[in-house]
Symmetry: C2
Subunit: 118 residues, 2 copies
DNA sequence: CACGCATATACCCTGCAAAGTATACATTGA
DNA sequence: TCAATGTATACTTTGCAGGGTATATGCGTG
């Protein structure tokens, strides 16, 4: 599942399909990649359940299926909890620093403060 | 970035680190993988910014850094919109079904829908 | 200082995934 | 029926990532 989205072309295809379903030829033209490449990646995506296709005459229309990406989203959940906790801690820490050492700052190592936005 | 988390051992390491920082040896033991493997994956993770390390005598303590995973989370955003839109549409559809056929219900297994693809 | 523990790195080997090219298959329309 | 279009697949080649083994490096301790 993670291998699937590791491939940049496949991610591009998925991003294309998020707006609406597309035929192989449309994907081929928009992403400027050779047709066999598109077909092969679509096959991988289909077999992994990321997309499904319907037949429209000679064309095949591919559309997104949400489940696999939802699973990836689910995998991220513990990490989301992790970093939101850390943003909170950082903000509390910086708040205390700001009032306890308003004029001096050591900057011994990487005390460079990045933008603490989420 | 996506290549990084495509590797199962690396995902395991990241999942371990989400609870607290760990030394190489601790990771090695908990995941039952050879030490060079752990070190090599940690190197990849460090160079990609997923983890950072501090020195504690002969040990090195590795801890999670949130940014790269946050970017992956951000990449998922459009897809989240996609599938929630679909859930909404499905729910609206089912709502209409519910009021258009209000009296007839096989009140065996109540409103259990036949596995609607979310 | 020498040893032992903890970690990193060098090296080789193997498998596999992606690209490219050519070709097969299927559907439509004349 | 044939040609054209649209898509899938077969085959080969190549690069690279990951594993295994051995060894190097660094840091405490007797």
């Amino acid at each position: 599942m993670f291998d699937i989205i590791a491939e940049p072309n496949r991610r591009a295809i998925l991003s294309l399909l998020v707006s609406s379903q597309q035929s192989v030829g449309e994907i081929e033209r928009q992403l400027r990649m050779p047709q066999p490449t598109v077909s092969k990646h679509l096959r991988v995506l289909r077999e992994a359940g990321f997309v499904e296709s319907t037949v429209d005459a000679q064309r095949r229309l591919y559309r997104l299926k949400p489940e696999p990406l939802q699973e990836i989203d689910a995998w991220l959940a513990p990490f989301r909890r992790f970093w939101s906790a850390h943003v909170d801690a950082l903000e509390r820490h910086l708040d205390r620093m700001d009032q306890s050492t308003p004029t001096k700052r050591k900057d011994k190592e990487k005390t460079t403060r990045p933008k603490p936005r989420t």
